[in-house]
Symmetry: C2
Subunit: 371 residues, 2 copies
Amino acid sequence: MRVDGKPYRTIWLADDGKTVEIIDQTRLPHEFVVVPLNSLADACTAIADMWVRGAPLIGATAAYGMALAMWGDASDQGVKAAYDRLYATRPTAVNLRWALDDLKAVLDPVPVPQRIEAAYARAAEICNEDVEICSSLGEHGAELIRAAWEKKGKPSLEDGGVNVLTHCNAGWLATVDWGTALAPIYKAHDAGIPVHVWVDETRPRNQGASLTAWELGQHGVPNTLIVDNVGGHLMQHGKVDLVITGTDRTTGTGDVCNKIGTYLKALAAHDNDVPFYVGLPSPTIDWTLTDGVQEIPIEERDASEVTVMTGRVADGSVQDVSIIPDGAKAANYAFDVTPRRLVTGLITERGVSEASPEGLTALFPEFAIPE
Amino acid sequence: MRVDGKPYRTIWLADDGKTVEIIDQTRLPHEFVVVPLNSLADACTAIADMWVRGAPLIGATAAYGMALAMWGDASDQGVKAAYDRLYATRPTAVNLRWALDDLKAVLDPVPVPQRIEAAYARAAEICNEDVEICSSLGEHGAELIRAAWEKKGKPSLEDGGVNVLTHCNAGWLATVDWGTALAPIYKAHDAGIPVHVWVDETRPRNQGASLTAWELGQHGVPNTLIVDNVGGHLMQHGKVDLVITGTDRTTGTGDVCNKIGTYLKALAAHDNDVPFYVGLPSPTIDWTLTDGVQEIPIEERDASEVTVMTGRVADGSVQDVSIIPDGAKAANYAFDVTPRRLVTGLITERGVSEASPEGLTALFPEFAIPE
């Protein structure tokens, strides 16, 4: 999507054909900094220090990390060592493992002198595949936004347009391009539909305020930041036409695990007859699970994410501030699960599915769970 | 309640019998500062600059402001001038108006030389009446906490105790003592019931993190700060036994207007069969309203409350930080309305009422709305 009018992906090959470039997302929204990755070590740092985040983008960075490693040591031992080093950066990230396995399988049968070329080619393919999935998901989702807008009588932006509420950041910054939850919004906006986005701040890490508001703003999509407490009130007063969130993991039965607080918005949507959709690239579906609330373990993260905020002070520098009493205790649950009964539909790259085993397996019959 | 082991109210008369002392709540939770009010001007500043906040405490401060004013000019003109100056500090605060009318009605018939004494006496009475209402409300609410604890088999704190979730600050800091939502918690704690409180941060003004966590901690009540997104997840997993919030205004039919985000917690409580109670001193009931969602106007406050956070930086100083992209737009709705169908009960100073016109008028027959 566009930054300052210029189209970007979140990861790309520099003109020298070797260097990989990324955006240091930890500096957003206050600074837009492009960082060159010149080595395996650089790629490891980028993932471990969260310069890149979002499952698809982590996978893409790991793939290019393997390619960068081949310049130093393209032997079987070198492939193995690069795999291990990259895997250790964020061992619980599913896409990281997947991308590394993919690259290793591609490289193993290739003669050593051709491994650099093969690795770059496969990394580029992985990026393009992600863009294709997100773009296709976006096209399907944009039709839902268009339908909601047409149902309202096609109001202009001045007359209210069509209003989407989103939570956290499932935008192009979390993928290679387009995003998941935000892909339908970009597609609708680019197609001339007057879409306005209510952006949940998304405490404690503030991805809505830091990333979603920033990327929508850069691409020119009208948006308004709200604290996480506000969505219910807006829905009670007809100010939200649909909700679209992303997901970290969705069961084969349609239960949606996503950033903490998603469940509360789904409840409010249900209580006010507002459709609640989830942008769901199919690799995020976990076909082994049936009951999300009971089966998905919820990560508890460090309390400092709750107790310390980062922002820009008057002199322009970025600082951390403590916002709680000395000695106070905080808990930090990272995700919650929205039961499928609250989900209107799942927007996938193959179309929009009902949040049910039947709906999902109709779109993805190759994954049908045997009776 | 206790601060550093010593019992405090939020406003009190100093030993000299003239000076009124308050806590500068804008300095919490980082600093506990007692401020003497020596004049009408001081009282006006305390209210206008929000050193004191919370409807009952604003009323009490205004009453003492009238008393302080009498030292300077106790004539009819002096009473009127003090009234006008105090009223202008926060003209939309219902309790401010109420306390000023009360003081004026008390002072008008009193001979000028006795007005200082009469004003101090009435201000003290207003404080004591507030404490009595909150204390009584607390006793009734504590029985609900006790019942929930007994139903669980009286677990010790180590075995889970009884868990109350609260939103915003309806604690002793918002009243003269005890609080409204927190009064039942203090009463239960003081009675030896092992109660633990989940404290919602309450964005955008963070009253949960700044005030509720602080005052519970000072009084020794176990508590854990969470971001506003977490409550639903906790309720899904049986970690909340009851929710108790305060209210800014409740309709005679039982709809509850309270700090933004309260409605989302009520939805989650309802979805998980967790009882949802509201601490409601009867002066907060607006008998003229029947449909809270439609009839109560919701204040929109300055967006800077969303976009700027205040906290303590590494060098110990307190600073403001901007947490959003330059130029991003934010909206700031201050309250929402929880429909009575989601409210299990209203805890008043006369007992616990069903959230319905019948329930409320049974407890307060003197306000029964004629058919």
